[in-house]
Structures are given as structure tokens and as C-alpha cells.
């Protein structure tokens, strides 16, 4: 299932709406990394609210997305991780170190806006 990528001002928003296959995740990564430069975006938000399972491949891909986007000159925030998912991830050792996280889309946007203010 394709993940829609929406442009909202200087931010790209990708909302994952269902369980994703590995191929879908790779498509998402390619799409985001391409478009972040194409639209000259400063931030990317990946919303995982509706994911109730996060395996090691998914969390590694999210981390790669964040790192690649930083190399392409923008910031990434992962938002909407469910409490149960967070607990399971931590127990598996998938802690998404050095990736920004936020409670939900609103918080993620607030975080990025704060970030833009300080960099400009």
C-alpha cells in the first residue's frame, strides 16, 4: 500500500495508514528522500499512529529515513508511536536513538517550527 506524502508549507507529512510491507517502506524512503529536495522542504513528519506493530525492519528504515533526510538538509520527526508499541520497541532494543519523536502530528509540527525559528 502506497503511503501518501503531503506537502504543508515547508514540511512534508507522510501518514502511514495500515501495516506496511518491506517494499512499501522502501518506497516511502525513496519518495521522501527525493521529494524533500524537490520541494525544498525543511522538515519531514512520519506519522505512525495507526501502526500497532513495529518490527526491526520498520524501525531501522525509519531511522535510515531520518539520517538520509538530515544529509539532504532537513529535519525528521516520528510522531504518534503508541504506548504499547513504544514499550515493545524498547524491549527489543529498537530505541530510534538520535531520531526526534513527538506525541502526535500537532506536536511534531510545533517541534519543527521551533527548530526553524532557531535556525533562521
Amino acid at each position: 500500500m502506497e503511503v501518501p506524502i503531503l506537502k504543508q508549507g515547508k514540511v512534508l507529512i507522510a501518514t502511514i495508514q495500515a501495516a506496511l510491507s518491506d517494499a512499501d517502506l522502501e518506497n516511502l524512503r525513496r519518495g521522501l528522500v527525493e521529494q524533500v529536495v524537490k520541494f525544498r522542504s525543511l522538515g519531514v513528519i512520519v506519522d505512525v499512529t495507526s501502526m500497532d506493530v513495529m518490527d526491526s525492519f520498520a524501525s531501522r528504515t525509519l531511522r535510515e529515513i531520518a539520517h538520509m533526510i538530515r544529509l539532504r538538509g532537513a529535519e525528521t520527526v516520528i510522531v504518534g508511536i503508541q504506548p504499547e508499541v513504544a514499550l515493545a520497541m524498547v524491549q527489543l532494543g529498537l530505541t530510534l536513538e538520535d531520531v526526534a519523536t513527538a506525541l502526535d502530528l500537532e506536536e511534531g509540527l510545533a517541534y519543527l517550527n521551533e527548530k526553524f525559528k532557531t535556525t533562521n
Binding site: 516520528i78 510522531v79 508511536i81 504506548p83 504499547e84 508499541v85 513504544a86 514499550l87 520497541m89 524498547v90 524491549q91 530505541t95 530510534l96 536513538e97 519523536t101 513527538a102 506525541l103 502526535d104 506536536e107 511534531g108 517541534y111
Partner: protein, 340 residues
């Protein structure tokens, strides 16, 4: 003293259950020693008969008949037996938490339920009564040994009265006791189990209550939570704490959480790891965690398990933690004197 009289002395000895054991298992041994000539009386013949015939064929009349007779006897002597029982309870200093009148009232009900259980051979009513009784007396501090004690006393009192009644007819006595004892044992069992189950239920309920109370997640400012932890943390409680905190973060949309562990003296490596996991999981939800009030022992444990201190944000005391948290959320506390 001949073996025969010795047997009789034992028979007449008041502690009845013990005596039954002698009867069934020891008599043949005594017989070999004593020889049939010395014991050529009624008792001896009865004993041999008992030994030689299987227990089922022993009773001329069916078991239920015997039980009915037994129940009739217990009904007839209700007042006297009940009083004797209450007196024995008082003598043995059981149920000291209750007044004499209360003991008498309860004894009456127990006696009636007891006889009824014997009569109907159904234990549901007794079970319900035992549960009800336990509910009433457990809060008053009645102990398990007391409840078991009074039921065994009743069993003893009744057995003695049966013995007194049938001592001339040995065969009958044996059959009556064959009918009485399994039922009496079952009754004692039912009451004791009922009591213990009720106690366990109360304990479970209290544990539940303590567990609920022990992990409050409190909001002190908009988007700032504190989680004071007091007492010993076992892995189960640690897990519950984590779940409750994560849920709290979501529902309160918290940005910063202060976990205060001043009230925790020590924790083992498992629980310390759990704490670290809680911090990391909270970060995945977008909240920053500040841990305050680490005791030297806990600091030692955390260093021993090798915590990445970059992930753990710690402040000495709760006040400092709240101050830092307020800064993170964007509050600034100004003394009232300065605003004027």
C-alpha cells in the same frame, strides 16, 4: 492387667479419633499377643468380626439409615451438645475476639448447618454459611487455626456423645462411626477451605487496592507530569508503572515527566533496566523524562549495569526536577515580590 482390659481402657479413653486408629489397625496385633482365650468376650468377637469382614458388608442397614439415626440423635441432644461445645470452645480459649453470647449464637447456627449437612449429605448450604461466617469474622481478627479448632472440637464432642450412647453395642457403634466420620471430615474440610478461600479473597482484594494506589501519575502543570514512586519495586510493579506512565503521557499530552524515586531505597538490575526502558519508551512518545532522588545505592546499580547517561536526565531532588521540567515546558517561576 490382661490385654482385654487394656483394649477396653483404650476404648474408653476420651480422645476418640485416636482410638479408632487403634481399633482398626492395632487390634489384630494385640490379639496375637493376647490369644483368643483371654479375650473370649463380646468385645473380642466384635473386633475379630470387624477384622474378618470387609467394611461394606459390615453394616446390616444401609448407610443412609445410619445417618438418619445419627441425625435424630444429634437433634434430640441439640441443647446439651451445643452447650458442651461452647464450653469447650471457651475452655480452649478459641475465638477470644468474640463475646460469649456471639460464640453461642454462631455455635447454634454452625451446629444446625452441621446437622443439616449430615442429613442431606449436600454441602452447598454449609459452604455458603461458612463463607458468610468467614466474611463476618475475618475483619475481627479470627485466625485460621481457631476456625479449624472449633470445627474439630464439634466433631470431637459429637463423636463422644455417639460413643456414650452406643458403648454397649459395639457393632452398632462401629457402623455409626463409619457413617459419621467421612461426613464429619468432609464438613470440617468444607468449613476450613471456605474460611481460607475467603481470607485469600480478602488478601487478593487488598493487594489489588495497594497496586492501584501505588502508582499515581499526577499532572502538576499543563503538560508536566510527576510520578512519585514509594516502596519496593518488583518487576511486576515496574511493568505496571511503565504502562501507566505511557498511558498518562498520551492522555495528558505530557511533554515532560518527573519520576521521583526518593522513596525507593534500592532496586535490582532488572528493575533498573526497566526504569531505563521506561525513559526510552517515554522519549518515543515525545516526552522527556527527568529522574530525581536517586539514592547512592540505586546510582551504584545504574552504573554497574552500564546505563547510557546521555539518555538519562537526572536531578538531585524533586524540587530541582520540577524546576528543570518547568523550564523545559516553558514556564518561568517569578517570586511575587518581584512582579510588583
Amino acid at each position: 492387667m490382661s490385654k482385654r482390659t487394656q483394649v477396653f481402657t483404650q476404648v474408653l479413653y476420651p480422645d476418640f479419633p485416636l482410638l479408632r486408629a487403634l481399633f482398626v489397625s492395632d487390634i489384630p496385633y494385640v490379639a496375637l499377643e493376647a490369644g483368643p482365650t483371654k479375650c473370649a468376650d463380646l468385645a473380642w468377637r466384635e473386633l475379630m468380626a470387624k477384622r474378618d469382614t470387609p467394611a461394606t458388608n459390615l453394616s446390616g442397614e444401609p448407610q443412609s439409615e445410619l445417618l438418619r439415626e445419627l441425625v435424630a440423635h444429634l437433634r434430640q441432644n441439640r441443647t446439651q451438645l451445643r452447650e458442651e461445645w461452647v464450653q469447650r470452645i471457651t475452655e480452649t480459649r478459641l475465638l477470644t475476639a468474640m463475646t460469649k453470647e456471639e460464640i453461642f449464637a454462631e455455635a447454634t447456627s454452625v451446629y444446625d448447618s452441621y446437622v443439616e449437612a449430615l442429613e442431606t449429605e449436600t454441602f452447598e448450604a454449609l459452604q455458603a454459611y461458612a463463607r458468610n461466617l468467614s466474611e463476618r469474622i475475618i475483619p475481627r481478627g479470627v485466625e485460621t487455626h481457631e476456625v479449624v479448632g472449633i470445627v474439630l472440637l464439634l466433631r470431637d464432642v459429637l463423636a463422644r456423645s455417639l460413643f456414650a450412647k452406643y458403648q454397649t453395642d459395639f457393632k452398632k457403634l462401629n457402623r455409626i462411626l463409619d457413617a459419621y466420620e467421612p461426613a464429619a471430615n468432609r464438613i470440617a474440610n468444607t468449613v476450613a477451605v471456605g474460611f481460607v478461600q475467603e481470607r485469600e479473597r480478602v488478601i487478593r482484594q487488598q493487594q489489588e487496592a495497594i497496586r492501584e494506589l501505588s502508582t499515581p501519575v499526577l499532572q502538576v502543570r499543563e503538560r508536566l507530569l510527576i510520578l512519585p514512586i514509594i516502596g519496593v519495586i518488583d518487576p511486576q510493579r515496574a511493568r505496571q508503572l511503565t504502562e501507566q506512565l505511557l498511558r498518562g503521557i498520551r492522555t495528558n499530552r505530557a511533554k515532560v515527566v518527573v519520576i521521583d524515586i526518593t522513596g525507593v531505597a534500592a532496586m535490582d538490575a532488572t528493575v533498573a533496566n526497566n526504569l531505563v526502558q521506561t525513559v526510552e519508551a517515554s522519549r518515543l512518545l515525545g516526552a522527556t523524562v527527568i529522574v530525581t532522588g536517586l539514592s547512592p545505592e540505586i546510582a551504584q546499580t545504574l552504573v554497574t549495569i552500564g546505563v547510557d547517561l546521555g539518555k538519562m536526565n537526572t536531578v538531585g531532588d524533586l524540587q530541582g526536577g520540577i524546576e528543570q521540567a518547568e523550564r523545559l515546558v516553558g514556564y518561568k517561576v517569578i517570586p511575587a515580590t518581584e512582579t510588583r
